[in-house]
Symmetry: C2
């Protein structure tokens, strides 16, 4: 061997890799996982509510009875029986789909990755709600696309604002390929797209030749009403639909899916083969067994009741304990409350002080590709029990109160990230706050 070493591989990196760096927020999350910290940060479903003995026995039987298939390679498109069952799940939200148009993915994150590979060239634009799901932002950034946000309000994405953004981008000569949207119980904003806006959103997208990516992890986790029909139920074309079993069963299997028109489906399958050969066979068989042998719709009710109780605990605690100034929404489903902070309070700068007070959240900046969001934060009510949620909010209220006191005394700090608008916004970079289980 020569004395040459390759410890520094930086000469060999692809252009897209130079921006792949971990964020400083990460270091805080490693601290946030300590048991003394109440984490209102992660989007982890409460899988302890599953009937674990029954699931264990079901998986034991699966290996004994069908292990030769369950442990083997399978096809990139996914198990045919699972794809049939996925169609029955989607029918709950009004979607009439054929199993041959479903592609099983390694969680819906892989669906976002495959869609990015098939549609996005470097420099292409994706429009998305502001704020938007951090994992989607990471998938689009990894392929060097640019995300432009569209404002949303209590009724979700605003079709007039969408049209204005698309016109502006068109006038600037930009190619907008996709609209990425989470219409039901949005992550992180907690709102749903109003029925009255749905046709208009689809119409605006179609008029601008923009494909709608409907990401729907939480649609079956509404607390009050039956599920809204999905956008995909309103049109068989123009919408590519993403689903997952991560929130309705368990994320540890990594089973999601994409429903796409045949030509797109074929490209997604080939892209998935190059990426992973096939999604985990055992995971797919586990989901099939779960849907075929367990009372999964009853279990959904259990989850809905559990999350509703936690949502109530969080809203009550916010109402009782938060000083005046912050505002928040009242989510009707899903996992998240979006809190807006008063002018001058910076959620990212506040984070180390919150950790010191033993409470964790996600700063709003994680959910914007353009440096926005410092005036907001995401709280999750899915994982901790109600008393821990109340304790977490109590600690957070203390931190916010101290920030407000400081602000009252000294005025806004000049070192906050809001002082450098756009600093985190570089096309082709994996964003500083890239995803991961804490941000799921």
């Amino acid at each position: 061997m020569t004395g040459t070493t390759h410890d520094d591989h930086s000469r060999s990196y692809a252009a897209r890799a130079h921006g792949m760096t971990a964020s400083e927020v990460r270091a805080l999350f490693s601290v946030a996982n300590r048991p003394e910290v109440v984490s209102l940060a992660g989007g982890m479903p409460f899988v302890a509510a599953l009937p674990l003995d029954a699931v264990g026995s079901m998986l034991g039987d699966l290996v004994t009875d069908r292990g030769v298939s369950a442990l083997q390679y399978s096809t990139a498109q996914g198990d045919p029986v699972l794809r049939e069952l996925i169609c029955t799940v989607m029918a709950l939200e009004g979607i009439d789909a054929a199993p041959q148009d479903v592609v099983v993915t390694v969680g819906s994150q892989q669906g976002l990755d495959l869609i990015s590979r098939v549609f996005l060239d470097p420099g292409d634009v994706v429009v998305a709600e502001g704020p938007s799901y951090v994992g989607a932002l990471a998938a689009f950034a990894a392929i060097e696309a640019e995300v432009v946000h569209v404002p949303m309000d209590a009724d979700g994405l605003d079709p007039a604002a969408l049209a204005a953004v698309l016109e502006r981008l068109l006038a600037a000569g930009r190619r907008v390929k996709l609209l990425y949207t989470v219409p039901a119980f949005h992550n992180p904003a907690g709102v749903s797209l109003a029925d009255s806006r749905r046709a208009a959103v689809l119409e605006v997208a179609a008029r601008h030749d923009v494909i709608v990516i409907e990401d729907n992890p939480y649609g079956l986790l509404g607390f009050d009403e039956p599920p809204q029909p999905a956008l995909r139920s309103m049109t068989p074309t123009g919408v590519i639909y993403l689903g997952t079993f991560s929130k309705t069963f368990a994320p540890g299997f990594r089973v999601g899916w994409v429903l796409a028109p045949p030509a797109v489906r074929d490209k997604l399958i080939l892209a998935s083969e190059a990426a992973v050969l096939c999604p985990p066979t055992f995971s797919q068989f586990a989901v099939v067994s779960y849907l075929q042998t367990q009372p999964w719709q009853e279990q959904l009710k259990v989850f809905r009741e559990l999350y509703r109780e936690r949502r109530d605990a969080m809203l009550e605690a916010l109402h009782d304990l938060m000083p005046s100034g912050p505002t928040w929404n009242h989510p009707a489903g899903g996992f998240y409350v979006w809190v807006r902070l008063p002018d001058g309070v910076d959620s990212k700068a506040m984070m180390p002080r919150a950790i010191a007070e033993r409470v964790a959240y996600i700063p709003g900046t994680a959910f914007y590709a353009d440096g926005g969001g410092a005036d907001a934060l995401r709280l999750s009510f899915c994982y901790p029990p109600p008393d821990r949620i109340r304790e977490g909010v109590r600690r957070l209220a203390t931190v916010v109160e101290a920030e407000l006191d400081l602000l009252h005394t000294f005025g806004p700090a000049s070192h906050t990230p809001t002082g450098r608008p756009g600093a985190e916004h570089t096309r082709g970079r994996v964003r500083a706050d890239s995803p991961g289980p804490e941000l799921a």
Copy 2:
């Protein structure tokens, strides 16, 4: 809704997606899966040799005892206990590695994908043995890199030929980023890199600033000798190592890994987060349980004996039944025999006739990025029992004999793919014979 439809999304595809089309070979494979066909095509390990009852009971216990963690999200780098165990597995091939430098992947295919994302810009060159693993070719093509093959012989990759190819590419102004190699029981060529060549291969790569990607799925499946030390055992730098449990345990869990220097490891983790959030937690816990509670080294001996017996059956049948003309190697491990056909016999053109005779194989063209390989084919001995292997070879011998008769009577057919050298070779295309379970 407007009348606009998006059935034709072709206006919106990324440049890299236009070449994503399925091959005609695919249609044949769907026929090849019929029970009356003896498939010598697929690289599926014989998982029926696993103690399925014990594995089933182990997985049942896993959910009952640790379901709350096993069913949850986990980190993108992979379970720490699994990464420790992976280091003990790698130690069997002389590798001294730290768990913190291991990244768990969705099979080693995802390792290839992540490495491609981190290192390869469109137009970059990867050098690889000719023939080479079809899944690697697909991963490199998906990122629009170009593969240039280096000749190999019975001793594996030829370092002098490697140096010549690298010099030629350098002189042509091409940037060669990676050398992709399968040094142990090569897929599809069935040979191993001789000890006497190993230092020279590493030296040539280092001298040209080319990172070696060592893909080692079969290293523990040698029939005669203890495992050769891996290339990675000879140098802690300059080699990125890929491993998998697909052949030593079960592919249905999709658990592989990458061992990489810290800076590269960090980028692989971020790329994996953007691609899948985290590898399947349940699969990782299943592998941990298997390694911790089952006699996995004894099971490796079972697999080795089983595959040795099948290798012997295939070699004996080839010797007894094949007409004179074809030649083949005698693999000392792994899953594959590489058969060279006489001049004028085209393995791809012969494929429909083989299927008609109820035997399937993979044409050599699947393993070349440059249109080569029509004079060869891959036979797998891993899956069918010995008597089926013999029957499959008997059918194949009939087909080859008929081809040789035709050739003797009429001369070479003018319509064969060999008549169009390079026809399949287009940079930036997912190759026609993209991977999938049949080609694993």
